[in-house]
Symmetry: C2
Subunit: 213 residues, 2 copies
């Protein structure tokens, strides 16, 4: 497994040109969706919604909102990570109720946990910027997604270069209390994307890692 | 591969009790370090340093800084994701020079790219909160790390519940221009951690995913 992980992580790159004729199979995409759902988040609060855009017209209409990056149109599946704009007691209660339903626990047995979450994410210090906190969580999902995709020989291109307001409007996110955190077109590279063969640029292990024995 | 990915992601959980007698092998840890180094980041800027704490006294001393979470002491390797407190032109130039050295490109051929990054991350809108931007990147690394660890049957417990100032002081991060973004003890669960067998709590696919065909 170790060699496979490193081989796949070296194989992946921020794909510059997708082959617009190649589509991710339903079976593979279903696995990636399940992997997204399984992403860990702070307190398990899952403050996100994953939008999967396969519609060609909509993908093309989002190119101007993506600083003309053509990957948004040429990819197989355009994945949009949206997050909650606000965290209220309702979101905390949703987790409490879902937990009690799945685990057969009395909701009141989680009162302490409920207060802890509210005092942190809703009314506490992190509640002051809960959308910032939610975006952090969505980047865990992004990291998980990119690694899983690479393991499955699927290409993607993480993107911060887009206009959130335009995405939010196109996808009617505001009315759902959501905003776009990050975007990741997925699909398959064209055979001759010259960026695929460029040596990866990473700082040295000495630069990036400090071990304290 | 698809089944393996889902099986491992279902197997993982935020480990509550590590077996303090079990250590991650050097070979496995080396793979995880390489996976961390290979993490993608915005522009490839790698605004991070990964601290790997194996020293038992230091791990124990960080328990109070972690709201008494004992995993910090009992884990095999305590991984601390630190990020740059500021992004300056020096960081941009470091990437330009590393790229030119690795790819044999003339640095001046990247002048446009250099200006683009400075106008965004240093003097632009994201430069106003470059530490927030850097933390987002570190969560990609966290997501990548947790998925790779699970694939290798290694346990971990992502933690936001710690006092960054205390971590920064203990690890002398301020003087290096770094601050702690997130923490992740890694190792092996004890055989009878009751949290390991609790059903995972995730919202439904309908709740979390919206497909636009």
């Amino acid at each position: 497994m170790n060699d496979t992980i490193l081989e796949k992580l070296r194989w992946r790159y921020a794909t510059k040109q997708f082959d617009p004729t190649r589509k991710i199979s339903d079976a593979d995409w279903s696995t990636l969706e399940e992997a997204l759902i399984l992403t860990p988040s702070s307190y398990g609060l899952q403050p996100w919604k994953f939008l999967v855009i396969k519609n060609q017209e909509l993908k093309e209409s989002l190119v101007p909102a993506s600083y003309k990056q053509q990957q948004v149109a040429d990819c197989s599946h355009l994945l949009v990570f949206a997050v909650n704009k606000n965290m209220t007691e309702a979101e905390i209660d949703k987790l409490i109720h879902t937990t009690s339903a799945i685990r057969g626990q009395d909701p009141s047995s989680m009162d302490y946990f409920r207060s802890l979450m509210i005092g942190d994410i809703v009314t506490g210090s992190r509640g002051e910027d809960s959308v910032g906190w939610a975006k952090l969580q969505s980047y865990i999902a992004l990291g998980n997604f990119m690694t899983c995709a690479a393991m499955m020989d699927i290409d993607c291109c993480p993107m911060e270069g887009f206009v959130p307001k335009m995405y939010d409007e196109s996808l009617n996110l505001a009315e759902k209390g959501l905003t776009t955190a990050v975007v990741c077109p997925a699909g398959y590279r064209i055979a001759d994307d010259k960026y695929a063969d460029l040596p990866k640029v990473r700082y040295s292990r000495e630069d990036l890692i400090e071990t304290i024995e």
